[in-house]
Symmetry: C3
Subunit: 149 residues, 3 copies
């Protein structure tokens, strides 16, 4: 890539992740499928799952079922972006999330409010449709859970 | 626009919104007038007002009176930017705000602390002075209000 | 600088600050030394210190001792970037930080949790190794401290 191509790739990657957050907090799963994830994308949250969810359909089934009935707020910050080839990149995003659930959730010890801070460690791939998330691993520096009614 | 012109426009729009937040939380209304808003800019917060405030003077009269005596913290995140012409753009920003008021505020049910999360849906226009906010609509995913003394 | 060079400089400055935050919250001081600070960098937090810490070794001694045993979360937002020459820039970042300490901390009135919002006012310099932080001053709009056990 020349300089301009690299700058365009950086902007496109930022747009993809912006749509990740917008889709997640607005439950816009069509946006996720069309403009965010690679078809073979993987999501891994080690604190909750030993193995990644592999393939977009599995990722979506997990996420849509776990956040479906709640208000969620996920914000991303300050990416560290490193290109590993003209069509692949590694990115770390700082993040904060709040999950406001309407009923107790077993995954969070029965809590109804989760507040976390951490990092996404991701890889991106340039597909025929543009840059997409290939793998995403979320770890948190700290999580607070509360029972709020 | 060619690629470089589009990248420059993206950066300028980010600078405009950065100055929006800096001006808002530092009550720097001259910055708002000179570098942030189009003269015919509009602000709409549907949860509080049925109609937008139309024109910068009206926007400023409302905002400066409602945040004038408080500490406020507004942060913006992860814009989704779409150009609708060489001189116009649509942008969605994720946002979080905290308002720490010194006295009870009727608009917030008499609360003194407001904490919200949502999105700005905005349009930008390229004027003779550069890119400026033309319309801004703020909706929140969630708002919490408390009486804190 | 031409347009492309300026865009590249903006991206590099954002990468430097992203590594500042990542290094700070992951205690990766080698990253700080290698890719974030100029050797003669200065850090000043006026609410705590009358004079800046001058030189990277002094900055690191202060920061690593004051955050060494805690979980910290620092997020940066919406930079206002102004180049003062081809090799120097002024940047203001909005910020939020949370410090979760394991024991009472004299600097914070014996509190174990600090939550703040404010701005970094920084200068950057382009060295032989790339852009680096030359001076950083942190002021807060508001700070909340609590004793949480």
């Amino acid at each position: 890539m020349n300089d301009t191509e690299r700058l365009l790739a950086i902007e496109e990657i930022k747009q993809v992740k912006a749509k990740y957050f917008f889709g997640l907090d607005n439950k816009d799963w069509e946006l996720w499928r069309a403009e965010v994830w690679a078809p073979d994308g993987e999501l891994h949250v080690p604190e909750f799952q030993a193995e990644p969810f592999r393939g977009f359909d599995m990722v979506l089934a997990y996420v849509s079922s776990s956040v479906g009935d709640q208000v969620s707020v996920h914000h991303g910050h300050m990416p560290i972006i490193e290109f590993t080839s003209d069509t692949s990149a590694k990115v770390i995003w700082a993040m904060e999330d709040r999950l406001f659930r309407t009923k107790e959730f077993p995954l969070y010890d029965g809590s109804t409010f989760l507040h976390g801070w951490g990092h996404y460690r991701e890889t991106y791939v340039k597909t025929e449709k543009g840059w997409r998330i290939k793998t995403s691993q979320l770890t948190r520096l700290r999580v607070e859970m509360k029972k709020v009614f």
